[in-house]
């Protein structure tokens, strides 16, 4: 089966929620015109990225009225977009929602909050604690927000728990301009996308934003990489672009027949090794118990 998706490589306005909702509605319309079944927006697409103290001001609950226009639009086309979630316990999270059929069906909270170099996520946000696979328009899917994807364990856990698609919305700042290469960040991201896709035999959908915030440029370069390692589609760097890609969901099965790495994977061994390392003992009669 072929599923057409759209990637909205856009430039959200920093701290301007209403404007960003209107911007989303416009891009959703364009994705619909392209006959896509799903449109994916970057990390924090409804708020902008370097929010600092604005994070608390612009946050909303996952079911907040302010997100209704996104939920409403999802009656026509599935929408995956980023926002600051104010959790019921009042913590702030970098969240990516998935809306379908007029309602929110899944939220991933960014687990790995980079707080080094040009990043300070951990100062303003609390970490998510789960990696859950859910059914999206393109099949069993796991969401890895930006830094989440840099941790090898994340796409691995998704693959080991049934995902055939890893969706990675990002706000990746471009840096590294050494001669003779691509942008340093672009090289790193493309290496990751292709490696994960080919060795976990799944689709990697990387959705990066563009635009500037406080002198830092987000580089774009969104791409879809297939389980055979081929780049299905790639957006230009530094420019707004609606990228359309056709996902062949049957390719996962064909590739996994040819190359059954996931079938032969031994997550039980990984689990028992890690359990010993972290002081947990796994016994046949008890799932996991502290030693």
């Amino acid at each position: 089966m072929t599923v057409r998706i759209a990637i909205a490589q856009c430039a959200p306005a920093l701290g301007a929620f209403k404007r960003n909702v209107a911007m989303h509605e416009e891009w959703i319309g364009r994705a619909q015109s392209a006959r896509a079944r799903l449109v994916v927006f970057p990390e924090l697409s409804l708020t902008g990225y370097y929010l600092k103290d604005l994070a608390g001001d612009i946050a909303c609950a996952a079911v907040d009225e302010r997100l209704k226009p996104i939920a409403d639009a999802s009656r026509r086309i599935d929408v995956c977009a980023g926002f600051v979630e104010r959790a019921p316990d009042a913590r702030l999270h970098i969240a990516q929602g998935y809306w379908s059929g007029g309602r929110l069906v899944h939220v991933h909270r960014k687990v790995y909050l980079p707080t080094y170099g040009i990043f300070d996520d951990g100062r303003y946000f609390g970490p998510g604690e789960r990696f859950e696979v859910f059914e999206s328009a393109v099949g069993p899917t796991g969401i890895a927000i930006c830094e989440d994807l840099w941790h090898v364990s994340v796409p691995y856990v998704y693959a080991a728990t049934g995902a055939t698609v890893v969706l990675s919305p990002a706000s990746s700042p471009g840096r590294g301009v050494a001669e003779g290469g691509d942008l340093g960040t672009a090289e790193s991201c493309r290496l990751m996308d292709r490696f994960y896709a080919a060795y976990l035999t799944l689709y990697v959908i990387f959705v990066n934003r563009v635009g500037h915030e406080d002198g830092i440029a987000f580089w774009g370069g969104s791409e879809v990489v297939a389980p055979d390692g081929t780049v299905v589609a790639r957006a230009p760097e530094f420019e707004e672009h609606l990228l359309i890609a056709d996902i062949d969901t049957d390719l996962v099965a064909r590739e996994r027949d040819r190359n059954p790495l996931i079938r032969d994977e031994r997550p039980d061994l990984v689990e028992s090794h890690l359990a010993r390392r972290t002081g947990l003992v796994r016994r046949p009669d008890v799932a996991v118990e502290r030693s």
């Binding site: 430039a11 306005a13 920093l14 701290g15 301007a16 929620f17 209403k18 404007r19 902008g48 370097y50 929010l51 600092k52 103290d53 604005l54 471009g174 590294g176 301009v177 050494a178 001669e179 003779g180 290469g181 691509d182 942008l183 340093g184 090289e187 290496l191 635009g211 500037h212 915030e213 406080d214 002198g215 440029a217 530094f238």
Partner: protein, 289 residues
């Protein structure tokens, strides 16, 4: 060759300047986008650039002309009576190259009106005064709808080789993350005339002054050491062990430390619950809804 295909690690080597090389076309694209977007966000359409006749300000003038179109760039040449006549010639050449109208405003009378009352004044102090008078004119000419572009490069910023509220002052600096040798490389593809690219860098604050003469080392030396210390996070001892001159490494490291106050916002004494600069932290690009 892409970075991923490079064979051999980047190592500190006093005779290897290659780590400083940049992809000029990519940098040009990034800097033009930076200027376009960061002015648009604050609602500005026009910029002011002081063109000195040197390579840094010529490069900034080129980027500004490319981004905004020459008619939206106010290019100023602001000489003092002791300024080298070649500076004027080169400033005019740069402006002409990039289609800019160069406006000349002599700062002698306003500088001398103040310094004349003081008698014998140290030349560095005189130079600082000139730099600040120039900047006051740039800001005046930016009013009411323009932004002042800075031209301080990464080498100058890290060494503290500039005047606070003088040449260091600006609203946007497109070239502050490029070392002098990198900016010179970029200026070639921007079309800065060869005679400007190749001349000895000078602040031209007194007769015969050159940057490298005043600093006591070359930009090539400083840039390579700064690159390894700052960009690659090596320690001075590691550079010295790799064959870099110990006195030079320590001198540069100490200059960076000593001048750090020049690179940060003024300190505010914290007494309240929430304080500008300490824990009242909003992005500059905070946009209206």
């Amino acid at each position: 060759m892409s970075v991923a295909e490079r064979i051999g690690a980047i190592r500190p080597d006093p005779s290897d300047q290659s780590p400083l090389r940049i992809d000029e076309a990519l940098v040009r694209k990034m800097l033009v986008a930076f200027l376009r977007e960061e002015t648009k966000k604050s609602g500005h359409r026009r910029v002011v650039v002081a063109v000195s006749g040197g390579v840094d300000s010529s490069a900034v003038a080129a980027l500004a002309a490319e981004t905004f179109g020459p008619k939206n760039v106010t290019a100023l040449f602001l000489p003092y009576r002791t300024s080298d006549p070649l500076s004027r010639e080169h400033a005019r050449l740069a402006a002409k190259t990039f289609g800019l109208v160069l406006e000349e405003i002599d700062i002698t009378s306003q500088v001398d009106a103040y310094l004349g009352r003081l008698g014998d004044v140290d030349r560095v102090r005189r130079g600082n005064k000139m730099a600040r008078e120039r900047k006051s004119i740039e800001y005046d000419r930016a009013w009411p709808d323009g932004l002042v572009l800075g031209t301080s490069n990464k080498t100058e910023l890290l060494l503290g080789y500039g005047t606070r509220h003088g040449d260091m002052a600006c609203d946007l600096n497109p070239v502050g993350d490029l070392y002098k040798t990198q900016l010179r490389e970029l200026s070639v593809i921007l079309g800065v005339p060869d005679v400007i690219v190749r001349k000895a860098p000078s602040a031209d604050l007194w007769e015969g002054q050159t940057d490298e003469g005043e600093l006591g080392f070359t930009y090539a030396q400083a840039d390579l050491i700064l690159y390894h210390l700052v960009d690659r996070r090596l320690r001075p001892s590691e550079l010295i062990a790799a064959g870099f001159d110990a006195a030079l490494v320590n001198n540069i490291r100490e200059r960076v430390r000593r001048s750090h106050y020049k690179r940060v916002m003024p300190l505010i004494a914290k007494v309240s619950l929430r304080t500008v600069g300490h824990d009242f932290l909003y992005p500059r690009d905070w946009e209206a809804d």
